[in-house]
C-alpha cells in the first residue's frame, strides 16, 4: 500500500513539557486510521503539527511524497488535508451555507475588482461555489439547514457541518478530532455511516476518538499514544490485546 501521510520522529515541546516524543507512523492511502490514547497523550498536538498550527521541534511530516514542514496552515489545506476541531470551531454567526463556502474559498479566483464590477466570471464562480456547498450540506444531511445560523444548530449537526466545511476543500486526507464527542448513540450511528461514505469517495481518514465502539468498528489501523510517545501501532485487534495499551487505559490488572 502507498503511504499518503507519514510522520517521522516528530517531537514537540512546550516549555518543559514534551507533548509529543519521537512519534512515527504512516497513514495508507484510502485507509481509516485511528489515533487513540488517554487524555493528555498528545493526540491533538499531533494533529496540530500535521496541519501546521504548530511547528515540530524535530522530525519530518510528509504528505503525498512532499514535506509539509514550515508551510503555513492554509497552504497545507491547499495541498489536500482538511480537519475538524475537538471543540467545534464553526463561524458561529454565519449560516451553514456560508460556513461550507469557506471550504470552497481557495479554489475560487475572483478578486476585489471582479467583485465590484460583478463580472460574468465572478457571478458564475459564486453560483458554482454555492451549488458545490449545497452538495456537501446534502452529503452530511444538512440540506434543509443551509440558511440556519451555525450557532442555532444542534450539537451533532454542528459536528456534521464542520465535516461538510472540511469536505468542501476537496481533501485527500480528512483529519477528524473527536467527531463523536458529545453525540448520543443514534447520532454516533449516523456518524459511522457518514465516515464510511466519506471513505467511499476516496478520502483517507485519520481520526482521534474516545468512543471505543466507533474506533473498533471503523478503523483499519490504530496508533496508540501515551505521555506523548507511541506505544502501539497495528490492527484494532492487535492494539486491544497489547499489554501496554491495556495498562495505559485500565492501569495494571489486578487479576492473576
Amino acid at each position: 500500500m502507498v503511504n499518503l501521510l507519514s510522520l517521522q520522529h516528530l517531537t514537540k515541546t512546550f516549555g518543559g513539557l514534551t507533548a509529543v516524543k519521537d512519534v512515527s507512523f504512516t497513514v495508507e492511502k484510502g485507509a481509516i486510521v485511528g489515533l487513540i490514547g488517554p487524555n493528555g497523550a498528545g493526540k491533538t498536538t499531533v494533529f496540530n503539527l500535521i496541519t501546521g498550527n504548530y511547528q515540530p521541534d524535530r522530525g519530518q511530516i510528509t504528505f503525498a511524497d512532499t514535506p509539509l514542514n514550515g508551510l503555513r496552515t492554509h497552504r497545507i489545506i491547499m495541498r489536500g488535508i482538511a480537519r475538524t476541531f475537538q471543540n467545534i470551531r464553526l463561524f458561529q454567526q454565519l449560516t451553514a451555507l456560508e460556513n461550507v463556502l469557506a471550504g470552497c474559498h481557495y479554489r475560487m479566483r475572483s478578486g476585489i475588482v471582479a467583485t465590484m464590477l460583478r463580472l460574468p466570471a465572478q457571478r458564475r464562480e459564486e453560483q458554482q461555489a454555492v451549488e458545490r456547498a449545497q452538495q456537501e450540506l446534502a452529503f452530511v444531511g444538512l440540506n434543509s439547514h443551509a440558511l440556519t445560523v451555525a450557532k442555532n444548530l444542534s450539537y451533532g449537526d454542528q459536528r456534521r457541518l464542520e465535516i461538510a466545511r472540511a469536505l468542501a476543500t476537496e481533501p485527500r486526507l480528512l483529519i477528524l478530532d473527536e467527531p463523536a464527542g458529545g453525540m448520543n448513540e443514534q447520532e454516533t450511528e449516523g456518524l459511522i455511516g457518514l465516515i464510511g461514505r466519506i471513505q467511499q469517495r476516496g478520502v483517507t481518514i485519520l481520526l482521534i476518538e474516545h468512543d471505543m465502539r466507533l474506533v473498533m468498528r471503523v478503523c483499519e489501523k490504530l496508533v496508540v499514544l501515551e505521555h506523548g510517545g507511541k506505544i502501539a501501532e497495528g490492527s484494532p485487534d492487535q492494539a486491544r490485546s497489547n499489554p501496554q495499551v491495556i495498562e495505559a487505559y485500565l492501569g495494571v490488572e489486578d487479576e492473576p
Binding site: H74, Q92, A102, G103, H105, I112, T115
Partner: protein, 305 residues
C-alpha cells in the same frame, strides 16, 4: 419587517435626494458632514465590522488621503477630483506598510498600535514633515472641484457630490459583502484558526481589509479637502478615530443600514442640541453608556446576531 425593507430604503433615498431643496445652507452643511462621516465609517466597517480588526487610528488614513489631494492640488495644480484615485492608493499603501508588521496582533493589542499610528501621523503633519504639510497651519488654497466643466461651490452642490459617493460606496460594498472576499473577512472575524484551517490566507485578508478600508478613507479625505479648501492636522485628531469607531459599534458592526443611522445620530444630534452646548457631550456620553449596556449588538445589527 423584511417585506417593507425595499420601501424603507427607497423612501430614505428619495428623502435624501430632495432634502437640499427644503433645507437651509447650514442644515445642508450638517448633512454633508454626516455624509463624510458615513463614508468614513463605512470604510472603517470593512476593517472593524466585517473583519473584526480593532482599528482606532482610522483618521490617519483619512488624513493621508486629504493631504495627498491638497499637496497635489496646491503644488502641482492637479484638479482636486483627479487626485481621488491617487489619494486612495497612497492611503491604502500606507495602511499596508503600517499594518504588515502588526496584523498578527489580536484585539486590544492591535487597537493600541493603531492609536499610536494615528497619533504619529497627526504629529508628523504638525511638524511639517518633508516640508510638505504646512505644519500646524495646514494647507490652504485648495481649488474647488470641477465636474464636467461645472465648478462645485455651494454646500448644496457638495451635498450631491458627497452623497453620490456614499451611494456608490454602498452599492460597491454590498457587492463585496456578498462575495468570496466579503465572506473571507467575516471568517476572520468569527474564527481566525478555523478560517486558516479552511484554506484561507488570513494574513492576506487582514491586510486586504486594511488596504481597502484605508483607500476608501483616503478618498473621503479628498472630498473633505475639496469641501473645506483648507485642511490642518486638527481635523484628524484621535477624537475623529474614536467617533468613527463609535459609529460602527453603535450602528451594529457589519450593518450598512446601522452605520448610516448611527452617523446621523452621532454627527446630527449634537448639532440639534447646540443650545445645550456644555451638556450635550455629557448627554451623549450617557447615551453611549446606556446603549452599550442595553443593546451591545448595535442599533440595527447585521442579521443573525
Amino acid at each position: 419587517m423584511k417585506r417593507f425593507e425595499p420601501f424603507a430604503i427607497a423612501l430614505f433615498a428619495a428623502l435624501l435626494a430632495v432634502a437640499p431643496l427644503f433645507l437651509n445652507t447650514y442644515q445642508v452643511d450638517v448633512l454633508n458632514s454626516i455624509g463624510l462621516y458615513a463614508l468614513l465609517a463605512l470604510s472603517l466597517n470593512l476593517i472593524l465590522g466585517e473583519a473584526g480588526l480593532f482599528n482606532m487610528g482610522h483618521a490617519a488614513f483619512y488624513a493621508i488621503g486629504a493631504y495627498t489631494a491638497a499637496i497635489l492640488n496646491t503644488r502641482y495644480q492637479v484638479p482636486i477630483l483627479w487626485t481621488l484615485p491617487l489619494s486612495g492608493l497612497i492611503a491604502g499603501l500606507f495602511a499596508l506598510a503600517v499594518a504588515r508588521p502588526v496584523v498578527h496582533l489580536r484585539g486590544d493589542y492591535l487597537l493600541i498600535v493603531t492609536i499610536g499610528v494615528g497619533e504619529i501621523v497627526r504629529i508628523a503633519l504638525v511638524n511639517d514633515v518633508f516640508g510638505l504639510t504646512g505644519g500646524a497651519n495646514g494647507i490652504f488654497g485648495i481649488s474647488r472641484p470641477k465636474l464636467f466643466g461645472f465648478v462645485i461651490r455651494q454646500p448644496q452642490e457638495f451635498y450631491y457630490l458627497i452623497w453620490g459617493f456614499v451611494a456608490l460606496t454602498i452599492f460597491l460594498f454590498l457587492r463585496i459583502k456578498r462575495s468570496r472576499f466579503g465572506r473571507a473577512l467575516n471568517y476572520l472575524r468569527e474564527d481566525e484558526v478555523a478560517a486558516e484551517g479552511s484554506g484561507i490566507n488570513t494574513d492576506y485578508y487582514k491586510l486586504a481589509a486594511f488596504g481597502l478600508g484605508a483607500a476608501w478613507a483616503g478618498m473621503a479625505g479628498t472630498l473633505f479637502a475639496a469641501k473645506m479648501t483648507i485642511i490642518s492636522p486638527e481635523s484628524f485628531s484621535f477624537w475623529e478615530s474614536v467617533v468613527l469607531f463609535m459609529i460602527v459599534i453603535l450602528g451594529g458592526a457589519g450593518s450598512i443600514a446601522g452605520i448610516l443611522l448611527a452617523a446621523f445620530l452621532v454627527i446630527g444630534l449634537p448639532e440639534l442640541f447646540r443650545e445645550f452646548a456644555g451638556a450635550r457631550m455629557l448627554v451623549f456620553g450617557l447615551v453611549m453608556m446606556v446603549m452599550m449596556v442595553v443593546r451591545p449588538q448595535g442599533l440595527l445589527p447585521a442579521r443573525g446576531r
